[in-house]
Amino acid sequence: MADLQSQDYIRRSASTMTPPSVRDHEQEVAKLIDVSRCIGCKACQAACMEWNNLRGEVGHFEGSYDNPMDLDPNTWTVMRFTEWEDEQGNLEWLIRKDGCMHCEDPGCLKACPSPGAIVQYANGIVDFISENCIGCGYCVKGCPFNIPRISPVDHKSYKCTLCSDRVGVGLEPACVKACPTGAIMFGSKSDMTAWAGERIVDLKSRGFANAGLYDPPGVGGTHVMYVLHHADRPSLYAGLPNKPHISVFVDVWKGLIKPMALAGIAFTAVAGFLHWVVAGPNEVQPEDEAAAQRLLHAADEPP
C-alpha cells in the first residue's frame, strides 16, 4: 500500500520532504454521514470489521445501544446513541457514526515523531502506515477528535483508513457500501458538499431550522462530514466537538519549542566553545601546589 500510493502523498509525518507533485489531478474525496437518515443498524460497523479483518474481543452488554462502548484498536468506527429532549419536550434519538474525520489539517500527523508513520494522500485521506509506527501515542495527543487507539498487543496506533485500499482502486469505503439507508455517502468533496446542501434544505423545510453541514474550519475542513439536524450544537451528538482545533499545547510543543530548543542548545554549546577560545582552560599552577603544601604542613604542626 505504502509504496503503491507514495506518489500521492501530500503530507508525511516528521518529514521535511517536498511531496511528489506531478500527479496533482486527484480529486479530494469525502464521506458524508447524514445523521438524519441513520437508523442505527450498525451495518457500517460490521462492514468495517469485515473488510478490514478486524475481530475485537466479544464484550458485555453495558446497558446501552453503544456496542462496543468505544473505539479501540479493533473498532475503527462505532455508532454513538444519544437520547435528547428538545425544548418542546420531544425525544430525539441522535445516532452518530464516530470515527476518524480525516482532517485537512491533521493533528495526528503533525504530532507524529516517526517519519512516514502518518501520511495524507492527495485525495485527502489520512492514513497510518503501521510499519513506521513506534507506538508513542503522540497522535492521540494531536487528534482533536479523540480517535487513534494504541494496541496494547503490538503497540501500534489504529484508526479508520477511509478504506484507502478500496478508494485507491475506485471503490467506495466498506461502510458506505453496506449502509442500507444511504445515510453514508461517498464521492468528491464538492459533490458531497452539494448533496449535503440539498439535504439541509430538505431538513429545514421539515422544521429543523438549524440543520447544517459539519465541516469544521478549525482543522481546515474534514474529509468525513456530517449532516446534522442541530448543526448549531454539534456537542449534542455524543460530544462531537463544537469547534475542533489542534490543541494549543500541541501547537507550542510541535512549533515554538523546537526552534527555541535548538537555539538554546546551540547558544550554550557555542558559548562554551568561545569561552575556551577566549579564556582557555583553568589549570592549577605550581604556586597553587606550593601554597597548598604550606597550608597542609602548617596543619601538621601543633599550634
Partner: protein, 224 residues
C-alpha cells in the same frame, strides 16, 4: 582505588559509580528523547534498534536515572546548601570565567555554579519523571485525560531542553577546570587543585587532618 601519595579524595568510589550511572542514563535519555522530539534527529533512534525500541526503553532508563539521581542527592545535598558566600561568588563570576580566582570568595566543597547544576537537576529530574509517567502510554495512559497528557508532554519537552542546557554547562565546566574530570573518574585531586578552586574545603580538610572528601569528624573547627 589507590591514589597517588599526597593527593586528596574528591569523590568516593560510591559517589563516582553513582555519578557515572546517572551520566550514562542521561546521555541515553538525551539521545532517545531527542529522536522523538525533532524529526531531524529521528535517526538517533537507530542507536537503540529503531523507533519502537527507543520509545520502549526511554522511560525505563528514566526510571533508573530517577533512582540514581536520588542517590546523588543523598550523597551531595549537604555540601550543596546555599550560603551567603555563594552570592558573593556569583557576583564575581566574571573573574571566575577569566580564570582569575585570587580575589573571589573562597569556595567550600562546591561553588555556586556546581550548586546551580545540582539543584537544577534535583528539580528537573523529578519533573521529567512525573510528566514522563503521564505520557508513558503503555502503562499509564488510562489514568490521565488526553488534555493532561498534552500538557505533560509539553512540560516534559521544555524540562528536557533545560536539563540538556544545564548538562552542557556541567560538561564544559568539567573540561574547562582542569583536573575536574579526573576527580570524577579516578576520584582524586591534588592539594593545589583544591587550593585554587575549593580553598575553604581544603582548609577544613587540613584543619582536621582529613584526606577528603569530608573533614574528619570530631576535628578542629575550620580555620578561615
Amino acid at each position: 582505588m589507590s591514589h597517588p601519595k599526597g593527593t586528596l579524595t574528591r569523590n568516593t568510589t560510591a559517589a563516582r559509580i553513582n555519578h557515572w550511572l546517572t551520566a550514562g542514563c542521561f546521555v541515553l535519555l538525551m539521545l532517545s528523547g531527542l529522536s522523538m522530539f525533532d524529526p531531524m534527529l529521528f535517526f538517533l533512534s537507530e542507536l537503540f534498534g529503531g523507533g519502537q525500541w527507543a520509545r520502549a526503553v526511554h522511560p525505563w532508563i528514566g526510571t533508573v536515572l530517577l533512582v540514581s539521581y536520588a542517590g546523588l542527592i543523598v550523597q551531595f545535598w549537604r555540601d550543596n546548601l546555599w550560603s551567603r558566600d555563594d552570592v558573593m561568588w556569583t557576583l564575581a563570576i566574571n573573574r571566575v570565567l577569566a580564570n582569575e580566582e585570587e580575589d573571589v570568595p573562597e569556595v567550600a566543597r562546591f561553588n555556586a555554579g556546581q550548586k546551580f547544576v545540582f539543584w537544577s537537576m534535583a528539580l528537573l529530574v523529578p519533573a521529567l519523571f512525573v510528566t514522563g509517567v503521564v505520557i508513558w502510554d503503555v502503562y499509564f495512559s488510562p489514568y490521565t485525560t488526553i488534555e493532561q497528557q498534552r500538557i505533560a508532554v509539553l512540560i516534559h519537552s521544555m524540562a528536557a531542553i533545560a536539563a540538556i542546557i544545564v548538562w552542557i554547562t556541567h560538561v564544559y565546566a568539567a573540561i574547562w577546570v582542569r583536573g575536574s574530570v579526573r576527580a570524577m573518574t579516578q576520584g582524586y585531586v591534588t592539594p593545589g587543585w583544591a587550593w585554587r578552586h575549593h580553598r575553604k574545603w581544603l582548609r577544613r580538610l587540613a584543619a582536621t587532618g582529613s584526606t577528603g572528601p569530608k573533614p574528619r569528624a570530631g576535628g578542629n573547627t575550620p580555620r578561615t
